[in-house]
Assembly symmetry: C2
Homo-oligomer: 255 residues x 2
Amino acid sequence: MTKKPLILVTNDDGFHAPGIIALTEVAKEFGAVLKIAPDKPQSGMGHAITINSTLRFEQLESGNDFNAYQCTGTPVDCVKIALDVILDEKPDLIVSGINHGSNASINVIYSGTMSAALEGYIEGVPSIGLSLLDHGLEADFTACKHFAREIIELALKQKGKNYCLNVNVPKLNLDLIKGIKYCRQAHAKWQEEFDKRQDPSGKDYYWLTGHFVPFDEHKEDTDLWALQNGYVSVVPVSYDLTNYETLNDLANWKN
Amino acid sequence: MTKKPLILVTNDDGFHAPGIIALTEVAKEFGAVLKIAPDKPQSGMGHAITINSTLRFEQLESGNDFNAYQCTGTPVDCVKIALDVILDEKPDLIVSGINHGSNASINVIYSGTMSAALEGYIEGVPSIGLSLLDHGLEADFTACKHFAREIIELALKQKGKNYCLNVNVPKLNLDLIKGIKYCRQAHAKWQEEFDKRQDPSGKDYYWLTGHFVPFDEHKEDTDLWALQNGYVSVVPVSYDLTNYETLNDLANWKN
């Protein structure tokens, strides 16, 4: 008898977010599940870790094949605590999400969901971040669960490989989604629009808002193209940030 | 008469850290300087942005060629506020640091210093993050200032290019440093060692600590090799996280 896979489930929207509840349901179909998630929303935390203050975690549910913890830290802290404190063995797979909102293109840089997955990959555990292009708390995760199931099944069969996948699912009914497309990260940025307000004592404060500015979403090999054309986008992510093109160019820099 | 360059200076150790004071001194030799830094230490904040709470900033110094602000946000928030609220024009260069401690190899992922520089690059502003391999508050920035000067001078001459450089300086006297080496990010990870303690009421809490585990620092094209052999390492950094090697492999995945 082969041993059941062990799947670590985490997110950045917090322990009680509908997205992680949906993802946990899918993960349980494949094996034993350890859920660990932040005790509060941690969107936009990127690859932050907690080094200037302390961390706590507590077990909220326990069982043979399902244990669940919430943690005071960031998504990356959650993965570190799971791997280094809670678990005696490496999980077979880490799944992070389902994020409420897109992590396609440049969003991968700011995303706590994807940073948790990337941390797993750095630690040698294949990891998948999943996001649905719908911020609403009432979002329908049906299509997302379908593709989460398909991708987790595929991933568990790739023995001995290490990778991190950024999976984004368009806000469409399942029957309208054309399938999965492997692609690269589209080039884009956020154009900030700081919303300036005054507190009751007359002092200025700001909310960070902005709009998304795509640059090459018309190119068919990008995740933005895939999503706009009815596909689920799958972008493999790297933790080697070296810009090899610039590295070649540096030799030509003259003083 | 050509216009003086405008240089934005930021960091993650906070407004009053010795490293940013040293870097500001160097930047002032080249042109007008806008300094904006977090009002508290923000090490390990990665690419975090503040979206669930508000932001404030205040001007602490003002003059013709030097203005300085502190901000309640993360290093990336600081860059966004400088570019989108404070400045009417794009700066010619962003310099971030001088960080107290290494940002070589995998540290680039967790580093607020480097994330601030990366954010500048995403916004189309050439950016350089600088770090000294010495955590001490009494660290000697002499050699670091020398190389900051050399690299800023070189950078300001590369008109029309966009890039982000991760510069690390070994803890050596200037006369022992062999020069600058352009290199790639070494492969490494942190092995966490959570320090478990009990609060006065008997509840567990943890400090995140760990040790650095290099994998390929013996390879001469890596930043770790450069630093261990007496060179200043310069790694160009990318915000395209696509893992193209894995992308090629995905076509072979079978269900």
